[in-house]
């Protein structure tokens, strides 16, 4: 399926949960999904034989600044060899998004990483805890407004 058809199929199936599909030459074709419907959309894209997105290539957190965070899902189908991108936008005040761990196991660690470094909370994740940073770390370093702490566990950070 070409990206335009995938976008149309999603819109026809999920209606309001699809906040828009952008297909211009600049960005890779992507659809914006409501954060509380992303799991259904992911499951549909994986199990529908026409799309068959059996692989999640990458799951990235992004800080768009201005209080907006995002999650970007890069999907790929081994069967059809086509790609598509999903995007979810959440706010800093309410950084909740559905987990897709039950759809693609690979999302487990990627979501933990996005939680660790961006503070995006994935509802329904079986084991959501920090992965790269120590458990007692404060804050989420990849946020654009992150300040490097002066002290860590009472020790002065020398730079």
């Amino acid at each position: 399926m070409i990206p335009l058809e995938i976008g149309d199929t999603l819109k026809a199936t999920f209606g309001d949960a699809i906040l828009g599909t952008t297909i211009d030459g600049v960005f890779d074709p992507f659809s914006k999904i409501a954060p509380d419907r992303i799991k259904d959309v992911a499951l549909f894209l994986r199990d529908n034989p026409q799309t068959a997105f059996d692989a999640l290539m990458c799951l990235s957190g992004v800080d768009y600044t201005g209080g907006k965070l995002g999650v970007v899902y890069h999907l790929h189908s081994m069967k059809w060899n086509h790609k598509f991108t999903l995007k979810v936008e959440v706010t800093v005040e309410n950084p909740h998004c559905q987990s897709v761990e039950s759809v693609w196991k690979t999302a487990n660690w990627h979501e933990r990483e996005a939680f660790d470094l961006f503070g995006i909370v994935f509802d329904g994740h079986p084991d959501l805890r920090r992965i790269l940073l120590p458990d007692d770390w404060d804050g989420h370093p990849l946020r654009k407004d992150y300040q490097v702490p002066e002290y860590y566990n009472g020790m002065k950070v020398p730079y």
Binding site: C58, G61, N81, T106, I131
Partner: protein, 390 residues
Amino acid sequence: MEATLTSRQVGITIPGFGRPLKTEEMVLNMGPQHPSTHGVLRLELVVDGEVVVDVIPHIGYLHRCFEKHAEAMANYQQVIPYCDRMDYVAAMNNDLGYAVACEKLLKIKIPERVEYIRVIMAELQRIASHLIAVGTYGMDIGAFTPFLYCFRDRERILDIFEHTCGARLLYNYIWIGGLSHDVPANFQEKVRDFCKYFRPNIKELNDLLSYNKIFVERTADVGVLPADVAINYGASGPVLRGSGVRWDLRKNDPYSIYDRFEWEIPVGTGKMGTVGDCWDRYMVRVHEMEQSLNIIEQAVDKIPPGDVQSAVPKRIRPDASEVYVRTETPKGELGYYVVADGTTSPFRVKVRPPCFVNLSALPAMCRGAMIADVVAVLGSIDIVLGEVDR
């Protein structure tokens, strides 16, 4: 029925000891400093006697937030030395992925000469990385000699790199739109010499290690990863191909000029046990070294003359857009998700490291195995912690 009872249900009585021994599950800590973890990785093993019930990997000991570094750099070019330091035994492949991503952002075509030299470098680096992988894997299993043989051959590749760019491990050689400098005059001759020298050594390695009875006993039928599970876990590279999936980005999603060469994708066939066992993953790497030699031999004769630096200026400013580019490194699919905001430094660089993703499949491979098998399975994934943690 009796075969399914665990030791806990049966209890163990020792003659002369007043009561049955208590048996229960135990947590065993493996690492962070452990010879078989290839770096600082901690595995929490939940074991029932000698049988592994679950594995919980703890990572992050080498975390230095590459992605934050990348955002803080003054320009795109400065990120490359940090890419070197992710998978530090395959630095050329890391640089190549980032360079390809940035070139796609800039929508530029780079000179033929650069493409050919990059392919040769990337494939030499693939051989060097696989030599470490199979050498240390042999050592994990208990065979020390193949390790020395592998490192002897790897030295030859590092010599070629040193001759080219002065560095042996972290090269900063592949730049956006070009190379840091041209290859020396007798480069092609040296590469041809290496190919001639190395090809018989693969057979030697097979005789010494691959078909060794003890090695096969330790790796065949151990840590089996079925193909559908591998895909669901996002596994890539030799881990995915070991499970019998004929998938290599150099052929299936070609970048650079890989579509011009004749070569095969080796996959696991279950020759010694089950498809997707440790031996298959190991053997895929050995076969890949041979295929890399084929690519190098085709490329080295065709390097066209030309310039390697002038394709882009030092300071680049891509328009606001984003790309996800993936390349096949020795460990698997290395993805760069680069977001540009129209300034001279990247807005966001997300790395999808192959080792990180492959390692997340470790518990699926280890459940039900013996403690000693965990070492065999971990070695067969071939992780580099610098890349897992970034």
